[in-house]
Symmetry: C2
Subunit: 128 residues, 2 copies
Amino acid sequence: MELVSAIDFEKSGGLVTAIAVDDASGDVLMVGWMNREAVLRTLETGEVVYWSRSRKALWRKGETSGFVQRVRSVHLDCDGDALLLRVEQVGGAACHTGHRSCFFRRSEGGRWVEEGEPLFDPEEVYGR
Amino acid sequence: MELVSAIDFEKSGGLVTAIAVDDASGDVLMVGWMNREAVLRTLETGEVVYWSRSRKALWRKGETSGFVQRVRSVHLDCDGDALLLRVEQVGGAACHTGHRSCFFRRSEGGRWVEEGEPLFDPEEVYGR
């Protein structure tokens, strides 16, 4: 597949960085990893599939929560080792903490401070 | 340093993912890597310093081109292994190709198509 052959999976041992951006707001939601199969499944299904480094398994985003990411457009960086996906984030929140973005901590005065309120209660969505 | 101690450098062998976002437009400019020293220098100097995996060296963005990235704010993701930096991109273009963003290729009809025009001529900036 021409799209996939331009992607450089070698630099990170078979993986590429995948940044998910909210297509409506342009905000970065999260960053994950994809192997070749995750990229292919994402392109085929139109919903984002990552590679979980901790679980060493394909991970369809939202498979537990229902909060899938619908692909609006796919972008590749200059050296081919990172993808950027503009997505519709179902449920509005990408982070397992319930925050809209995983990047909800901001440096301020030498400390990390949390910004924004969670949109859902993780215990309700994922159970205990 | 409290900021750095919350960062998880272990998952990627001493490195964290670092996403640079244009503070004015909110657009993702590039993604790079930082080791602990790169993070410290970035925080101390207010200009972004990456770790170059290919050169295995610290890399002050713009050290050759002059197109440095001035840090406006720093954000950490939920599991602490990725940073997002909102920056002022001096010169307007982050990519060594002259494009504003390194993600200037978009998937369309099974091919990568280039978007936008380069803002500078790489040969003029970097020499031949």
